[in-house]
């Protein structure tokens, strides 16, 4: 998967990542699109607004004063029964956080493309996953795309699963690396999408013939059950997702069904297995090829879905590894990276617990090159338990000179 063809086929089009995602969204025919400009997302909604203006997409494009407003607009639209889409990045996602948590609680499906970008301060426009991970616990499903094709397809599949389990979806794709790249991709046609994605049949709506209140005050005797319902829906969403990737394959021919659509692997049965999210996996595959040529048995396990968390799948995919290296573009100050901590947690009561090293890399767009990945493979090969907390995680790209007061 995710290895681009050398030459695009006749059916494929070459366009910028943001435009490709917008075209995919168009095929899903959303009723309402609302967003606020933010780099590197802006291209997605600019393209959508152009498609609306050109009459190619019959959708209400609502331009607003802030991301808070955009997310709230999608909530209102979704509550009225509409199919709603938005896109954002970084600070914009942070500003949407408050309304998005309520969208989950009100069980309102909204699909969002998130062009991942680091969070301020310091101010940066480049990619990492700190924005997505900050929204981890809100009750939104989260996917991570490795290439433009997946960024398109995840949004489409996102509509289907969101509208079945009544939760918002954040479809992550790395800022600049995927938003501003031009790759050949299959743009889904409306006919294909009609076959795959039925019109929304809303379960909870503001229906004048059946009045109800959303988001009302819940006393202590009711709140817990309402939020637990999100947990239940998340767990149920794994089956819905498995079915969704299966039907997606039947309609579109692209196969995301490995590990129920939760994981994608490359030499997944190797002795040493790296875990990473998103676009960096393209580089990792290349380094794996080099090491395998030299006889090193190393592979990749890439979670496609981060929420719901792929617990059973990761236990199966990592349990029998000699050692695991987690390469992650996020951090959880005061502990270790969230991804590494979650993977360890998920393996704790499993049959096997391979030693795990984690590496915080590629923050705010810092390039991660092949030799660096090679070094991390080698460090992973040396991992053995028990480890002290300090030995578990490292920041191999740290520039010590800067930390020590240098100004370069």
């Amino acid at each position: 998967m995710a290895k681009a063809e050398q030459n695009p086929s006749d059916e494929q089009e070459v366009m910028k990542g943001t435009s490709a995602v917008a075209k995919g969204v168009m095929a899903a025919d959303p009723d309402v699109v609302s967003a606020y400009p933010i780099t590197p997302q802006t291209g997605v909604v600019e393209k959508l607004s152009e498609l609306v203006a050109d009459g190619q997409l019959d959708s209400e494009f609502i331009k607003v004063d802030s991301e808070f407003n955009a997310a709230s607009t999608c909530i209102g639209a979704s509550a009225a029964g509409a199919r709603a889409f938005s896109a954002t990045s970084s600070q914009g996602l942070k500003l949407m956080s408050e309304p998005l948590f309520t969208a989950a609680g009100m069980r309102l499906p909204i699909v969002m493309a998130v062009a991942n970008r680091s969070l301020s301060a310091p101010l940066s426009i480049w990619a990492d996953h700190t924005d997505a991970f900050a929204e981890r616990d809100g009750g939104m499903l989260q996917f991570h795309a490795e290439d433009v094709q997946e960024a398109i397809d995840h949004v489409l599949m996102g509509f289907r699963v969101a509208e079945q389990v009544n939760l918002p979806v954040l479809s992550n794709f790395d800022g600049f690396i995927l938003t501003h790249v031009q790759e050949p991709a299959d743009i889904p046609t409306e006919e294909e999408v009609n076959e795959f994605l039925p019109p929304r049949d809303p379960e909870f709506t503001l229906d004048p013939s059946d009045p109800k209140t959303m988001g009302a005050f819940a006393r202590p005797e009711h709140w817990t059950e309402t939020r637990y319902a999100i947990q239940e829906a998340m767990m149920e969403s794994k089956d819905v997702w498995a079915q969704t990737v299966q039907e997606f394959k039947e309609v579109f021919g692209r196969d995301y069904t490995e590990y129920n659509g939760m994981l994608d692997t490359y030499h997944g049965d190797a002795d040493y297995r790296l875990v990473a999210l998103g676009s960096i996996c393209g580089t990792i595959r290349g380094v794996i090829d080099e090491y395998r040529e030299q006889g090193v048995d190393v592979g990749l396990v890439r979670p496609r879905v981060h929420r719901p968390f792929p617990t059973e799948e990761l236990r199966e995919a990592l349990g029998d590894a000699e050692a695991v290296g987690v390469l992650t573009k996020e951090m959880s100050p005061g502990y270790e990276s969230a991804l590494a901590g979650e993977i360890k947690g998920t393996l704790y009561h499993a049959e096997n617990q391979p030693p795990i090293k984690s590496f915080v890399i590629g923050m705010a767009g810092r390039d991660v090159n092949a030799p660096e990945i090679g070094t991390m493979i080698e460090e992973t090969m040396e991992a053995s338990a028990p480890m002290t907390f300090e030995e578990q995680e490292s920041w191999p790209q740290l520039r010590e000179k800067l930390l020590n007061g240098g100004d370069q």
Binding site: P37, A53, F61, S66, E67, Q91
Partner: protein
């Protein structure tokens, strides 16, 4: 002069002191109106007698919010729309600081609009410069809160259906005690207005028209302009709220008809600032709150106070 601030330094100040060594040349596009704001600000500072060490510049997000990278003072680059709450709090902690908040029209009249209303309402003694180019520049030209109705952009290809914000009227209604509009094309007036705004004791709101030659090519470049104080055509009393409101409404409407009117539109020298109101009720000390962290005696004073409370 207090222990930790350099206020009231008695010497000539050169505008070039406000040019930073690290980024002396701003990276705005050639022809950008933002250069004029920077220049006017540098000219205004010697007029008001402030050194760079006495000034805090707080900005939001946008092209204009890069101002504090190019302006040698204490700088605080905040998040989108949030310059005013930060500026306000810094001013309260150290009223001796000359506090200038700045940002674009999207930053100040859109995403941060609520902060604009409430900071003006509270009449904090500070200056708020809004670079108004009627567009989102940094994200490459989307319709902004001040874009005229019908304005076409990539997010509104058939034209905006919305009436633009009336920034001057909004500032007046919210409670700003100094409201002016100037333009990048009028550097002398801009420097004068900024100096007045900074010297004004209260919330001074300056709507600064800045042309965007890159992303808002259709927009006026704000020439020719008329200074309402210089023109015989306009006769109104800037201290009269009702006359000011009528004048602002006319000025805002005229901008979209192609006539650029600039000048001072409302000045209320009598309204006490938030700090003065709080000091009058005994809720805020005369000395800056922040001073204790820089005053050797304050540790002793704190110890004596503790002893007094516990014996």
């Amino acid at each position: 002069m207090s222990a930790f601030s350099a206020i009231d330094e008695d010497r000539e100040i050169d505008p070039e002191e406000y040019t930073p060594g690290i980024e002396p040349q701003a990276t705005w596009c050639p022809g950008c109106g933002d250069f004029s704001v920077l220049k006017a600000l540098k000219q205004a500072m010697p007029e008001v007698g402030r050194t760079p060490e006495e000034v805090l510049t707080v900005t939001g997000i946008g092209c204009s919010s890069k101002l504090n990278s190019y302006f040698e003072s204490y700088g605080f680059h905040s998040i989108h729309g949030r310059s005013l709450p930060i500026a306000r709090a810094a001013k309260l902690a150290n009223p001796d600081l000359e506090v200038i908040a700045a940002g674009g029209d999207g930053d100040g009249y859109g995403i941060g609009g609520n902060h604009f209303i409430h900071t003006a309402r509270e009449n904090h003694d500070m200056t708020y410069i809004v670079f108004n180019n009627e567009i989102f520049g940094l994200t490459k030209g989307q319709t902004s809160p001040t874009s005229p109705k019908g304005h076409k952009s990539k997010t509104q290809p058939h034209g905006s259906a919305k009436d633009p914000i009336r920034p001057l009227s909004l500032g007046l209604t919210a409670g700003a005690s100094y409201v002016a509009r100037t333009a990048a094309t009028n550097p002398n007036q801009a420097a004068e207005i900024l100096a007045e705004a900074i010297e004004h004791d209260g919330f001074a709101h300056v709507d600064f028209l800045t042309q965007c030659p890159t992303w808002n090519k259709d927009a006026k470049s704000y020439v020719p302009y008329t200074d309402v104080q210089e023109s015989d055509e306009f006769d109104f009393d800037v201290t009269d709220r009702k006359e000011a409101a009528e004048m602002m409404y006319e000025v805002e409407s005229k901008l979209y008809e192609g006539e650029v009117l600039t000048g001072r539109f409302y000045v209320d020298e009598d309204r006490p600032s938030y700090t003065e109101e709080k000091q009058a009720t005994g809720e805020m000390p005369e000395e800056p709150l922040a001073e204790k962290y820089f005053d050797e005696d304050s540790e002793w004073k704190r110890s004596y106070d503790l002893l007094e409370h516990h014996t």
